[in-house]
Symmetry: C2
Subunit: 274 residues, 2 copies
């Protein structure tokens, strides 16, 4: 079926958006839509212009024989602030206070639409680092990390908290949780991550940073190059975390069980975005 511009441009938009970061050759489009290269190029420049004007992400052209075009789901600063404000708003609901002074956030972590947005935020932050893998640790890190990996078109690798009969030989390390000072074990199958990979670490929560420190130690066993670490929520205490280099979205300042109050705010990284 030979299409008009207004029709073809719908299909091209859908194809680009469906596979973030996937490089698609111009030939693919010219063949699929039986159109000249110049016609497709014009389509793409319209899409690029609209995405830029409407802050819907970036359409990037890679020149050369092995080149093509790809969609980069960059989030605009105003969008990032909106999503984090919504998160803070949700998290400050006193109904979330659990016995023991914990905060209930499982529903948010398993909200696919919200995590899709969070995934794009971290993808925007880490876009230029050229990582090979996104790494997380089960269980609650998985939804966030999967959406980051999806937005960056990277495979996800999940660190287990138990032994893994079904995954072959594995590397295990012991680590001390920073807050409760208990010894725990985390392990990763040898075949899950090639030695020397460039990785991003993504997790849902950081208090003292014991788990994050454990992941860094495990990554050393795989000779991995850790390029960045994204954390959904960090606590303001302790100030002195076991890891230094990470980006959080939300800072949990206080859970006051008596006043029934939760105090959260956007992280400095979010507040300082321009």
């Amino acid at each position: 079926m030979k299409m008009r511009r207004s029709e073809r441009i719908v299909a091209v938009t859908k194809i680009l958006v469906n596979e973030p970061y996937e490089l698609i050759s111009l030939n693919y489009f010219t063949e699929r839509f039986d159109a000249a290269k110049s016609t497709i190029s014009e389509d793409l420049s319209i899409i690029r212009r609209v995405f830029a004007a409407e802050k819907m992400g970036k359409v990037e052209t890679v020149p050369g024989a092995a080149g093509g075009v790809r969609f980069i789901p960059n989030k605009a600063t105003s969008d990032i602030k909106d999503v984090v404000d919504e998160l803070c708003n949700e998290l400050s609901d006193p109904e979330r206070i659990l016995p023991g002074g914990y905060i209930y956030m499982t529903d948010l972590i398993f909200d696919p639409s919200l995590m899709n947005e969070v995934g794009k935020i971290f993808a925007t932050k880490f876009a230029d680092l050229d990582a090979d893998y996104v790494i997380t640790i089960e269980t609650k890190g998985i939804p966030i990390a999967l959406m980051v990996a999806r937005a960056l078109n990277l495979p996800l690798v999940n660190i287990r908290k138990d032994s893994m009969v079904t995954e072959g030989s594995a590397v295990s390390i012991n680590y001390l949780t920073g807050s409760s000072r208990r010894i725990k074990t985390m392990s990763l199958a040898r075949k899950a991550l090639p030695e020397g990979s460039k990785v991003l670490i993504v997790d849902d929560f950081m208090k003292a940073g014991g788990t994050a420190k454990g992941i860094l130690d495990l990554m050393e066993e795989f000779k991995a190059d850790v390029l960045g670490m994204g954390i959904l929520v960090e606590t303001v205490d302790p100030d002195d975390k076991l890891v230094a280099d990470y980006t959080s979205l939300v800072v949990l300042e206080e859970i006051d069980q008596q006043q029934e109050e939760i105090v959260v705010k956007p992280s400095d990284w979010v507040l300082n975005l321009e």
Copy 2:
């Protein structure tokens, strides 16, 4: 910025695709793009026509004052067969045989792009059931179930295999794994799932069906109405599973350690699709 049709239609396509199943009012579009209702309606009918012709999903109009338009990421039968063929092809790689006669499939389960496709397949299968929640059990069910939930615009609920200090009061049940006949525990926080919800269950693997049966028992405790169950890979043995009503994509027929051979095939549901 006032846009031309070819520009506006790019933005409308992106907005629809970004939020599957989300009902978006015509007013939203007329205001955002400063365009007449009839203009937007024409845009939408072009998008609808292209999506249908290119098998890119469905654009559905809901009439009335509370109505609007929404994108339904239906997968075409040929697409479903292609994705399942790719899965079978990947799974039959003899390198996947692990000591003990297990099969390594963690890399596929944590491949965001592949799971996005699998999510759309189950969403296509379960689209008309009008469920409230997607339910899974940690750990390897999560990526598949998250993508099903994303494609259906539903929240995901994750059943834990341990106790949950940070999630308040919970219901726990013991269950017998069908294959190894061990007693295990699964639990779900009371606040994670309202009583009487309509749910879909999604998991990565079924052998005898002990885990699936456990989930059904747990759902009974929540008075949930189980509308469907989607399983990525089931084993051909035992033929007599503990649950009857489920849809799988792939059937694992044999892992022959001596011949170094894995035999998989698309499920009857996939083979019989027309």
